[in-house]
Amino acid sequence: MPAKKTGKKKQKVLVTGAAGVLAQQTIARLSGSHPIVAVDFRRAVEIGPDIPSYRVDFLKRGLEDVFRQHDIGTVIHIGRIGTDIGGKFFRYNANVIGTQKLYDLCVKYNVNHVVMMSSYFVYGASPYNPALLDEDTPLKASDLTLNLIDTVELENLSQIYLYKHPQLNMQILRPTNIAGPGVRNNIGRLLSRRWAPVLMGFNPVMQFIHVLDLADAISLLLEKPKKAGIYNLAPNDWVPYKTVLSECNIHAVPFPSVPTGLTVGISRWLNWKAFPSYLVNYFKYPVIIDGGKFERTFGFKPARSLEEIFTHYRELKKEPWV
């Protein structure tokens, strides 16, 4: 039987992916005003004495125990098996099937607010992309590579729940490249290095959002009226990839760009986590998204500049161990 909600105690906020910097920054912002429950598939993370933390595999039945033991009102779903972990079938099961189980529990236990972290990768890096893609743009990422199928499928699944279960008040966020201290995604890894590949003849403009701005944005969603929907998250600032490298004190290494098969083949052979073969096109063609809807709906603008992000990566190079 689903847990009966008393309506007296403040309902808890379940945050997935608690071992990551974005989840930890979000928890830090919310823990003063909301009771938090943290979960991660990697390990039970030590966050604080008042914050219960669990290691949970979404595909296992233990996930429901979290809902049985805690009165969860909001789920912030950040946790994801990264594109650098496991094969595409493992990732598909963990991310898509695992998330479906999580959403089913949200429905079963009357959760009334779900924030789901997607990615701008879903739009796909196509040479025919117009600039300032809005939330209604078709998702083309799976046309380009099988490795991004789970990202697109996860979005599609979330959209089904968004419309089929309006009581979840689901908000799907599609942030642009997330960067800043502690970020260990592909772009974070790349900017932390001293050398990075540049596809010869291509220099796409890019967007970046500071991880602390993203944590601010997620926290804001709990304070504002729950307006369900899909939202891009990106600042109104654009910078070419080569300028990014130069600003972060990274040496550009020319990389063959045509034919695409050669680029992908070399990238696959190098097996470089910061520059995986299935993301090659994101370093070739721009994927510029329009963050205007989020800004208008929630009155939020990222506060940290590109310069602040790049300064972090410049400073990082001064550390002898990088």
Binding site: G201, Y285, L306
Partner: protein, 273 residues
Amino acid sequence: MGVKSLLKKALVSREMEEIFDRVPKEAVGSYGYDPWGASLEGSKIGLAIFKRFYDNYFRVQAFGLENVPKTGRVLIIANHSGQLPLDGVMISIAVATNPNGPRAPRAMIERFFPTVPFVGNLLNEVGSVIGDPINCIRMLERDECVIVFPEGVRGSGKLYSKRYQLQRFGHGFMHLAMQTGAPIVPVGVVGCEETMPSIANIKPLANLLGLPYVPVTVPFPLPARVVLSFGEPLHFPREVISEEHVAENVERVKEKIRALIKHGLHQRKGPFF
């Protein structure tokens, strides 16, 4: 000092800087780029390089530049020819150096350009963008000056035997003008047909290379005199009654362009004079 700074120092004159300072600048980010990858510095360098060709090689004559609005959204619609997008470059320079009020022009380019190494990025840097309706709407909403060639590759890739014969116009530009309320300034381009006269198109090779055409033509553009005739702005109602009505509006623009081409042909003594 970077390559761009060196090029700018070597090529961009004070006069050119002064012209660009008068150009209304739309929103750019903290590194001087807009969402389409255009930069002020890149535009200055591109303009400085091609202005030399504009003045000395193609000896461009531009008539009716006073018809280009100094501010606000506008669609510049022209005939397309010459295998390479030189007509777009020449119109861009005429608009950017317009003594009546310079504008930063945004030329819509064919969709295959972003896939070509170096070329795609260079075109973006100087303000060109792929001819996608969403791009065009966004730019017009930002009150930019957008150049469109509705014939597309049908016009640029046509053979010399079909010179100065307008090919089929897509209706997309008219829908965009009506949707956004942007006036249309028609332009007749004369001379680009003779810069790269093509006698045949090697279709199998074009298919193999993924290009729209591979012309049998001269190895470099010939120094034909280019004449640009800008017509008076045309205004169309925002309401679309039917596709037939849109087609009538498109035909009206084509008629204007035909007349402007005729005007341009009368202005020159011959293709190279």
